[in-house]
Symmetry: C2
Subunit: 207 residues, 2 copies
Amino acid sequence: MRIADPTKAVIDPKTGAMTGASDRYVKRIGELKGCYCNSSAFESLAQERGQDIAYVVDHFLPSADEGDLIFGTSTLQPGKVSDEYFMTRGHLHKKSDRPELYHCVAGKGVMLMETLDGEISAVEMEKNTLVYVPPHWIHRSVNVGDAELVTVFCYPADAGQDYEIIASAGGMASLIVDDKRGGWTQAPNPNYIPRSAKAAKPKETTG
Amino acid sequence: MRIADPTKAVIDPKTGAMTGASDRYVKRIGELKGCYCNSSAFESLAQERGQDIAYVVDHFLPSADEGDLIFGTSTLQPGKVSDEYFMTRGHLHKKSDRPELYHCVAGKGVMLMETLDGEISAVEMEKNTLVYVPPHWIHRSVNVGDAELVTVFCYPADAGQDYEIIASAGGMASLIVDDKRGGWTQAPNPNYIPRSAKAAKPKETTG
């Protein structure tokens, strides 16, 4: 029986950097083509700042075994593409019955979630907020503040990520946009292709 | 297919209280008989402060399904029984191949771990430290500071807890004791009954 050594990791809540990470994943602004509704605004930004970092994930992957856990930090820069706030690509777990726990340690964000049936949930988070994304929810982080959004995440090691589920539907049903009063609001995504009849008219909920 | 609603929980790093918890578990000083090496010192303390809270766990249990996650906060009061720092009872997961992630948000502690073969690891933690307890490690938290030790934990929902594994061995192989210089050190537990020949002479490691 393989017995792994315990792991100690120290996070910097300001930068999101984590010591002891086994891997770092960097996503640059130019790589997020297709994520934002306003494609011409995205192209302009990508021309100017395409090499700038959009988000970084520092994670520790002990194994991919059923029952094991992956954890790490996600650090999403602030910004907007037209009126849409910066976001991660988002995913559904390949094993869609796997949940995920997020713990916001800095910044101000929204965990935007939807089910394949078109149910929507947008949960605001700031320092000391935990968000439990239950099984079967597509989810992405959105930075609605003016500083880095830093979360610590933990999910089952056998979960996997399906990123195409969002791209193939023209994005998520809701956009998280500037409300012109210094905050955020949800707006329907005009490019969204409902996956089911039930999803054609998504019910909007905010928690 | 059951689709649960997302959960938002807010933690107070000072008190460890978590909103949205589905359950609270309180352990009082008087209930920790057998945990401490110096039983007469324990009895004296229990007579005086037996009803005082030793630690509190606020947790959220979405299900006990394989692949799901349980999360919450653990808040351990500071104190000593003779020279041993206050600790949780500790456990091995009933499904011993299930790991656990701890994220210290306040205080100063030690995650004391040992395997059934007698390997020992004591990892110091303070605010912003993550400790990954791998599968097959018995683990307990020890408060080596002078304020509440608050951790956020996350573990597989089907893990379960075996508390007897520690009691039946006369405790854990190491004690975490006052080093008389304001810090902590490990000392061998004279009551410890090794579970295997390999464990008879535990190797001490500190990380």
